[in-house]
């Protein structure tokens, strides 16, 4: 095995292009488990932790551009106000030790249907910025997931950053597992209200081969909220319940060791209804972002 530690982004992209079977490593919280258990024996480990650009975030063109290598702990402490949905999701990941190392870039590249960043990124309408020596492209996050643990990343590409529109309204994240810490989601749901464009964003986790949105639920709710954005009136309970049903209807779960398909569908309808109820209550209280 070889170990390469590029100091610049250009060097990292060149190394990736030169060795298509290299395995990039950021926080190592997926990669090292594979190596420790003998499931992963890459010819080359490409350590990205010394590439300064990947460890930074900034704002660009109205979006937060979050470097692929920023650990969850920093998303929580530094971006909780701008990206509350992603920060809430990050809080549910692993343990403090895992959050100190694990990154959104690693979560994306692993592309597990249970990855916790995904529902929040879907709901927020994020874009994944990927790069290679051939150039840079932006992929809407909904198009990034291509199958169970498969993504749109080509074998000479690296994730550079995720571009996430900062919140303009309340966001929520809900995850079901056997306990609070250190669990892979049985099912998860991310919600973002976008009062600026009178729209609703959703993200479903652990209940389909890939993370996915619930477009019918988004459209339904945006229609129901027509007029309510201004009046901030109460949301009829039937609307929240119907939203929950439509979210559950977008899922395509399986039975596995963590839960049954039936349970997942039910859990999603409950999580969608609850997160909407919480988010709308926040909005009614005059959530600042909707001015």
């Amino acid at each position: 095995m070889e170990f390469l530690q590029p100091a610049t982004w250009e060097e990292a992209l060149e190394a990736r292009a030169a060795s298509r079977d290299a395995v990039p490593i950021a926080g190592g919280t997926d990669v090292m488990v594979g190596i420790n258990f003998g499931r992963l024996r890459p010819a080359l480990l490409l350590d990205l932790t010394r590439v300064p650009e990947l460890q930074q975030w900034g704002t660009d063109d109205g979006a937060v551009r979050l470097g692929a290598g920023v650990p969850y702990a920093r998303v929580i402490t530094e971006l909780g106000d701008r990206l509350p949905g992603l920060a809430m999701a990050a809080r549910t990941i692993g343990s403090p030790q895992i959050r100190n190392r694990g990154t959104v870039g690693g979560n994306l590249a692993t592309a597990s249907p249970a990855g916790d960043a995904h529902p929040a990124l879907l709901a927020a309408g994020a874009e994944v910025e990927v790069a290679s020596v051939r150039g840079t492209r932006r992929i809407p996050v909904a198009d990034f997931y291509r199958g169970v643990k498969r993504s749109a990343l080509a074998d000479d590409e690296l994730v550079a950053a995720v571009r996430i529109p900062p919140r303009t309204g309340p966001q929520q994240y809900s995850k079901i597992g056997t306990r609070n810490a250190m669990v892979i989601a049985v099912a998860a749901f991310g919600l973002a209200l976008h009062p600026d464009r009178r729209a609703v964003g959703t993200g479903i986790g652990s209940a389909a081969p890939t993370p996915r949105r619930a477009p019918a639920a988004e459209e339904f709710l945006a229609g129901e909220l027509d007029g309510l954005w201004e009046s901030r009136a109460e949301l009829p309970p039937a609307t929240a319940a119907r939203f929950g049903e439509l979210v559950a209807g977008a899922a395509a779960p399986i039975d596995d060791v963590r839960g049954t398909a039936r349970y997942r569908v039910h859990a999603l309808s409950v999580m969608a209804r609850r997160t909407l109820t919480w988010a709308w209550a926040d909005y009614r209280k005059g959530d600042p972002a909707c001015a």
């Binding site: 170990f3 090292m32 030790q97 609070n180």
Partner: protein
Amino acid sequence: MRLTCTVNGDRHEVDDVWEGESLLYVLRERMGLPGSKNACEQGECGSCTVYLDGVPVCACLVAAGQAQGREVGTVEGLAGPGELHPVQEAFLEAGAVQCGFCTPGLLVATDDLVRRSRAEGRRPADAEIREALAGNLCRCTGYEKILDAVRLAADRMAGEAR
């Protein structure tokens, strides 16, 4: 490959490190620092918790080469030779150690929590303690004595200079 890093303030250089090796393996098997424990090798138990550049991490999930040039702090470095750190004393006094396998990781995680809250001039609330230790599993104590020990350590360290 060769790995050079600082561990508990001392510069260490080791040769013939396998590229896929974890920092935990290097510490235990190559540097003679077996304090950090290996129980799961998958980030679940926290018994391998060390500081990497001042941040608590699972040493089993850090590739050896990722520690190149970095500062590592292990349980062996908490107190001077023959001495006990206030967190270690508190664990002993509270009866928070049974088989002791989880203890090194818990000591590092506790030290981090107590330092952070002390820097903010306060003591950690119980909910915070539970959250901070959520990545450290103990199969013996049932955690109550561990919580006692953390509160005791926080009380004692609150009085010390920062």
